[in-house]
């Protein structure tokens, strides 16, 4: 690690690491008995690996990589359903680029495109809306994917389509929410988590109070964090301080971007367009109660599940995950990526077997991308 050149503020990073080490010793954290801190967000996972924070930090602090990468928790069956929609006559299927290479049970969207489906990578649901305006004779479907950071964008796009009376635009809604899987992980007797680094940009939308249950009901500290390495170190320090004091609170290290009560326009748009599903399937975690969103009755005309009788509105195929794929174990922190027998062999970023290898926010891709640089050090 080229400490001075890698960090914009190396003196601050060093001071934070020293303070973390002092506190870790004080609470008796060691390599054998580490404090387990889960960073929920895949962006944080990426940042931790990019800066080698897991190596720089006191050996008594262990990062557990959370389920906060929407592409990574997408079951193969959802990808299959996307492809089924995309292959229908007259459909233009629009998706964020991140989802293009996620393997389904037979194809990825990228492969379906190569086989002739009109799959288009867009930057924004607004692009899909514009494609619908320009192609009135085609059915334009947007793959609504992501946590609360992207959910407002599809909600606002659906509201715009309704206002304009567009009849050829719909959203295949696979939006998911952060608090419910965290609750599921806390209820899992195999998980031993001592605290959380909370997602920054999700919290910018929903505020910090949806995490109150983590502190109040489960007695675990959570600190909402920014993406710079010193933000993450500062947040780890704040978690450790709570542990040392024997308290559990929701704290906001990223207050310069995250308002306590979130973004009210976004929250109102999400509430207007979406409602909770009874349960939703996550790769590696299974069905989790109330963890996914669906489009409300009032906006049914824009719901691709209804339009094409697919997904939760159709007959859902049971699709097993790929043989030998240990994404589930990695995602629940039971296995580190290099321990997976497929890691770097049957599963690489170029030919991913599991979704954790696809996205730069996936723990496996992060290990792979930055592992080589480490080996050379």
């Amino acid at each position: 690690m080229k400490f001075a050149s890698e960090f914009r503020d190396p003196a601050l990073a060093k001071a934070l690491l020293a303070e973390i080490a002092k506190l870790a010793d004080q609470i008796g954290a060691s390599k054998e008995k580490p404090v387990h801190i889960m960073e929920i967000c895949g962006g944080h996972t990426h940042s931790i690996f990019r800066y080698g924070l897991d190596k720089l930090i006191h050996e008594g602090v262990e990062f557990i990589h959370g389920p906060g990468c929407p592409v990574c928790v997408l079951p193969r069956a959802r990808v299959d359903e996307c492809i089924e929609i995309a292959q229908k006559d007259g459909v233009i299927f629009c998706t964020f680029g991140d989802a293009m290479r996620v393997p389904g049970s037979k194809l990825s969207l990228l492969q379906a495109k190569a086989e002739g489906a009109d799959v288009r990578m867009v930057y924004s649901p607004l692009d899909a809306l514009e494609i619908a305006r320009r192609n009135p004779a085609r059915e334009v479907v947007f793959f609504g994917l992501g946590f609360e950071t992207t959910t407002p964008s599809t909600a606002l796009a659906i509201q715009a389509a309704a206002r304009e009376g567009l009849t050829n635009f719909s959203v295949f809604c696979n939006h998911i929410t952060v608090p419910e899987p965290i609750k599921a992980l806390l209820d899992d007797p195999h998980m031993c988590l001592d605290g959380f680094i909370g997602p920054g940009h999700v919290s910018m939308v929903i505020g910090i109070h949806p995490y109150d249950f983590i502190a109040q009901d489960y007695g675990k500290p959570i600190v909402v964090a920014g993406f710079e390495p010193t933000d993450l170190l500062q947040s780890v320090l704040m978690v450790l301080r709570q542990i040392a004091e024997g308290v559990a609170r929701v704290e906001n290290q990223y207050a310069r971007v995250v308002p306590e009560h979130g973004n009210k326009v976004s929250i109102a748009a999400m509430a207007d367009v979406y409602e909770k599903r009874p349960s939703f399937e996550w790769r590696g975690l299974g069905e989790i109660d109330a963890s996914g969103l669906r489009i409300r009755e009032a906006y049914r005309a824009f719901d691709a599940e209804e339009k094409f009788a697919i997904g939760y509105a159709g007959v859902r195929a049971v699709v097993e995950e790929a043989e030998g794929c240990a994404c589930g174990a990695v995602m629940t922190g039971r296995m580190k990526p290099p321990a997976c027998p497929q890691f770097g062999k049957g599963c690489t970023p170029e030919m991913p077997l599991g979704a954790l290898m696809v996205s730069s926010e996936g723990a496996c891709a992060a290990y792979w991308q930055y592992g080589g640089a480490r080996a050379a050090e």
């Binding site: 914009r8 929407p70 680029g97 692009d127 606002l156 308002p259 973004n263």
Partner: protein, 96 residues
């Protein structure tokens, strides 16, 4: 897609649709400002915002914008966002 990228709002392009032009790392891109519009839209001109998938989601100050952009460049996420914007433009023409 999950990390926002800072952009500076330079022009209101369609008030009815809450559309504005933002400059992101030297690239101009139309964005929706519904989530950050509290007063008259003209008041947004010159302001910095974190932009997520085409929506300005949070107003930030210039220093925060610069620091965030640096962090995103380090992670390779800034380049990725710009490539996705270009892909979105191409998709409108059916070229993506």
């Amino acid at each position: 897609m999950c990390l926002g990228i800072p952009g500076q709002i330079v022009e209101i392009t369609d008030p009815a649709r809450m559309a504005a032009m933002a400059e992101v790392s030297g690239v101009r891109r139309e964005v929706n400002v519904a989530c950050v519009a509290e007063g008259p839209l003209e008041g947004l001109i010159g302001q910095w915002a974190l932009i997520h998938v085409g929506f300005a989601m949070s107003l930030i100050d210039e220093e925060e914008a610069a620091k965030t952009l640096d962090a995103l460049r380090d992670l390779g996420e800034a380049q990725e966002a710009l490539e996705q914007m270009a892909a979105g433009d191409a998709a409108l023409e059916g070229r993506a």
